[in-house]
Amino acid sequence: MDTDRYLQPQQARQRPPTIFEDLLGDAIERAFAAGNHTLPELVAHLNREGLPAGNGQPWTEDSFSALMARLGREGDAA
């Protein structure tokens, strides 16, 4: 890559994603691709697929929303 100017593909995140986050990203995209665009549909899809929430428990709307609130806002300006 040229180094004489700013060409930085990753500007929005502060750190590399974890394996869990990559798996979750895959699962969310598959859920959306299947047309699950509401929160209950999305959570049901994640539970059908079998990727557990970070605590090893099935996903709930609250646990999914809380995780997204943390990951989605990570690194945002206050």
Binding site: L7, P9, A12, A33, M68
Partner: protein, 343 residues
């Protein structure tokens, strides 16, 4: 490398204004994170700028040229709202006033205002500077489209530097049809007809260039506006995997660095709220940003491979009336400014 001389930019004031950008506009100059308390030097709109933050975080910008003998102020020491030139210690305040000449106290340079100062605002993750040729006390306000200014939208800035005339980057955005071809293999622009008829619709701040008979399918329209700053915006649909929230929008600003380099600002925006907003922001960081970047690189590679005089040897057709209108808009602005400067 062979370079081909285009119209003599130095001799023609209109061409010079077009090459380095019209004056008296706010230009995005860099992402917020580029500037800290240690001064940095950035070339923008054909000038070198020294930028730094004071202890409160406020950004200041002076031309990176000491009024004494042209030393690089950016290599000096920042002293709050002033900067001391490393060459002879001359202190210049952020409004362009020389406050101290240590080598010759009381000389007439002290108290005068010979340095060129730039007004600065920080918004949407970027630093903007008002591009005037002389010091002014109060610059006009600027606004950006609702995709950035409204809290209903969420956005990320993507910044890039391209080795091309800034007008090539603007023409590229004012050319929606290239999406169907150049970006056909992208994650979001595989749909829709490969032929289209376009029309231009005037707005209060500029114009919209749009396809007739197709909207929300591919890259189908671009808007140009001047609201104290010049911007472009467009929308591109996400595939179903992008989840709820509809199209994503791009607000773009291009700032000339020099004749052959441009600073590119693309804010990727989406109207989303609650868990959808958080999920989009997670997915953007986790994977969408990389896909958007790949699309933007297709544009960069194409524009950088075009000859510097490519826009002097063209055969335009109906898809190009948007960029013809944009060029006319800029030329009118530059001509008026050149005439005003000539008195």
């Amino acid at each position: 490398m062979t370079t081909i001389a285009i119209a003599n930019a130095a001799a023609d004031p209109v061409e010079k204004l077009l090459t380095f950008g019209p004056k008296n506009l706010w230009y995005a100059v860099c992402p917020s994170g580029f500037v800290g308390e240690k001064p940095v030097s950035l070339r923008r709109f054909g000038r070198k700028l020294a930028l730094w933050r004071d202890a409160s975080g406020q950004v200041h910008a002076l031309e990176d040229h000491c009024p004494h003998r042209g030393g690089p102020l950016s290599q000096g020491v920042a002293l709050g709202d002033r900067i001391a030139c490393p060459y002879h210690g001359v202190e210049v305040r952020c409004d362009g006033t020389v406050t101290k000449v240590p080598g010759s106290p009381g000389c007439k340079l002290e108290g005068s205002r010979p340095a060129l100062a730039f007004h600065v605002k920080e918004a949407h993750g970027a630093i903007f500077a008002f591009n005037a040729d002389k010091n002014i006390d109060e610059p006009p306000a600027f606004t950006l489209p609702e995709e950035l200014s409204s809290p209903e939208f969420s956005s990320f800035l993507c910044y890039s530097e391209w080795k091309c005339d800034w007008r090539y980057a603007m023409d590229n955005v004012m050319d929606p049809m290239h999406g169907t071809f150049l970006h056909k293999q992208s994650h979001s622009m595989a749909e829709g007809d490969s032929t289209a008829a376009f029309r231009i619709r005037d707005t209060e701040t500029g114009f919209v260039f749009e396809k007739t008979g197709q909207r929300g399918v591919n890259f189908d329209w671009t808007e140009w506006g001047v609201t104290g700053t010049a911007w472009m915006r467009l929308e591109i649909p996400y595939p179903k995997t992008g989840g709820p929230g509809g199209n994503f929008a791009i607000v773009g600003c291009v700032t000339p660095i020099n004749e052959r380099m441009s600073a590119i600002f693309f804010w990727r925006c989406r109207k989303v709220d609650g868990w959808m907003r958080d999920t989009w922001r997670f997915l953007y960081r986790n994977r969408l940003e990389a896909r958007h970047w790949a699309v933007l690189e297709q544009d960069r590679v194409m524009l950088e491979a075009m000859e510097p005089d490519a826009n002097q040897r063209e055969h335009l057709y109906q898809h190009d009336i948007g960029l013809v209108r944009l060029r006319r808009f800029l030329k009118t602005m530059a001509t008026e400014q050149a005439q005003a400067a000539a008195g």
